[in-house]
């Protein structure tokens, strides 16, 4: 029952929220339906189609509540409009296990990720309504007090209702940008779990898994969008490496040093299938390219035998689609691996001269590594020192200190 609630409730909430354009009312009604189920199912037996039963019961509960509120209420017109809206939710046969029930989760996702809500609200709302996390769990993941998170959710739901944010799939001309924004929210949730910016754990597996679940849902709802599949594949490929990303002490292990036997082969295989599905749609995009790069790493048995030339080419395509100095830096590293440190250094020096990454410690780490490999020890030491002053966390600084000690000993 609890399990069923976590995963089916989102769907019932979506259907009611879409009709009512009010998430709060929808959530209350679905909650009430589940309370009724707890009382009735043990006595009457479980209906053949529990999901259909929940939607219909929730709709009836919402109607009852509107009728009760009507007594003495001034907003008669609003209540009448809501009651009319509820009548659009059909009577679903709960005695037929195969009866199709409406799926309005895509509409709900677009409402939750609407650009008129602030980013934090979008993330929280998406996780709460479709990710199946409790307010407490979301608060914990984002390191804010539960009361703050609850308040954030209340405000967001109120804005959806009062500003008239629609529960609908955007028009054809708006869909690309809105879908980008939706993918960005899902990827942000994944990275919050993956990048270890907060919390005691370096990787928050729960958040990563919720993001992947949302990615799967999105891929099921929009199967012809290549970038949606690309995003899903990208998250799965990163996630497949989770067991090797930290050592026994919980410290981050770089890709180069990871024990590749600990990567999840089954998940890598599944991700490659998703990426192949995306490729057959012939609409290349940044998520697919990043996934293709991650796939090249996932398929290599060690750093030396990695297809660095292929990776450098993929970064070049990524840079053409979404130019960024960070992408260019990654390309330089791949070029250095395939063509030698001198070729990589030429690109890194050019990025350095442009100055936009002057304070980015990884630029200086990359430059120092290349100088070291070219035998320019004095330059390398100076560059490592520069990187050290810019590194933000202790693990990075420790790693750089080790490099410096080895170099100076020469």
């Amino acid at each position: 029952m609890a399990e069923s609630f976590r995963h089916d409730a989102g769907r019932a909430v979506a259907t009611l929220a879409r009709a009512l354009r009010d998430l709060d009312r929808a959530e209350d009604a679905v909650q009430e339906a589940y309370v009724t189920a707890l009382e009735r199912w043990p006595v009457d037996g479980m209906p053949a189609n529990p999901s259909a039963w929940v939607v219909t019961t929730a709709r009836n509960r919402a109607t009852d509540r509107l009728r009760r509120e009507r007594v003495g209420a001034e907003k008669l017109a609003t209540l009448a409009r809501l009651e009319e809206a509820l009548a659009t939710v059909p009577d679903l046969p709960d005695d037929d296990a195969t009866a199709a029930i409406p799926d309005d989760r895509l509409e709900l996702l677009f409402a939750c990720a609407h650009p008129s809500l602030n980013l934090e609200a979008r993330v929280a709302l998406t996780l709460r309504t479709l990710g199946g996390l409790t307010t407490e769990e979301i608060a914990d993941a984002f390191l804010v007090p539960v009361a703050t998170m609850a308040q954030r959710l209340v405000r967001a739901k109120r804005k959806i209702r009062d500003a008239g944010i629609p529960f609908e799939v955007p028009s054809v001309e708006r869909l690309p940008e809105r879908l980008d924004a939706l993918c960005a929210i899902v990827y942000l949730i994944f990275n919050q779990g993956y990048a270890a910016t907060s919390g005691a754990l370096v990787v928050r597996t729960d958040l990563c898994e919720e993001a992947i679940r949302l990615g799967r849902l999105l891929a099921r709802l929009l199967p012809d969008r290549a970038e949606v599949l690309g995003l899903l594949a990208l998250m799965m490929l990163h996630h497949a490496r989770r067991a090797a990303r930290t050592d026994a002490d919980g410290e981050i292990v770089t890709l180069e040093d990871q024990d590749r036997t600990r990567w999840d082969g089954a998940e890598i295989g599944a991700a490659l299938a998703v990426l192949g599905q995306a490729a057959r749609l012939y609409a290349e995009g940044p998520y697919q390219l990043q996934a293709a790069i991650a796939a090249k790493h996932a398929l290599a048995k060690d750093s030396a035998s990695t297809d660095w030339r292929g990776i450098a080419l993929l970064y070049a395509r990524l840079a053409a689609l979404a130019p960024s100095p960070v992408v260019e830096l990654n390309r330089a590293i791949a070029v250095a691996m395939s063509e030698g440190p001198a070729a990589g250094l030429t690109i890194v020096d050019r990025i350095d001269r442009e100055g936009t990454l002057a304070d980015y410690h990884l630029l200086h780490v990359a430059r120092a590594d290349l100088l070291r490999r070219l035998g320019r020890t004095a330059d390398a030491v100076a560059e490592y020192e520069r990187a050290m002053t810019l590194a933000k966390n202790e693990a990075d600084r420790r790693h750089l200190r080790e490099r410096l000690t080895t170099l100076r000993a020469r």
């Binding site: 001034e74 609407h114 944010i165």
Partner: protein
């Protein structure tokens, strides 16, 4: 639902007479389009902020001063009120307001007051 679109112009925006004329013509065409499609409820341009007077009543005392609060980065240049089914529809209309190219449009739902 009714949405009010508040049109803000950046302070210091200088248009050539030709640009002003073109903008004026664009507003005319836009207003006509909004009227023809049935979304238009109301709308008007405002005289520039130099013409403004501010009045406050504090402890029963009336205080009249010149202008709005000075030093703002943008000023209210006019408004439209549209009847739209959803925020997205209102945003589509707001984006078509000619002033959106120069300044910004704030889209706010009009509070529904129950009929007395």
């Amino acid at each position: 639902m009714q949405y009010m679109c508040l049109i803000y112009a950046p302070t210091g925006l200088e248009l050539t007479p030709e640009q002003s004329e073109a903008l004026f013509a664009e507003y005319g065409a836009f207003t006509q389009q909004a009227r023809a499609s049935g979304v238009m409820v109301d709308g008007a341009p405002l005289e520039p902020p130099e013409t403004a007077t501010t009045v406050r009543v504090r402890a029963g005392e009336r205080l009249v001063t010149d202008g709005p609060f000075a030093e703002t980065k943008e000023w209210l240049g006019g408004f439209y009120t549209f009847e739209c089914a959803t925020l997205d529809e209102a945003l589509d209309w707001a984006a078509k307001i000619p002033g959106a190219k120069y300044g910004s449009i704030e889209v706010r739902p009009v509070m529904a007051i129950p009929a007395m």
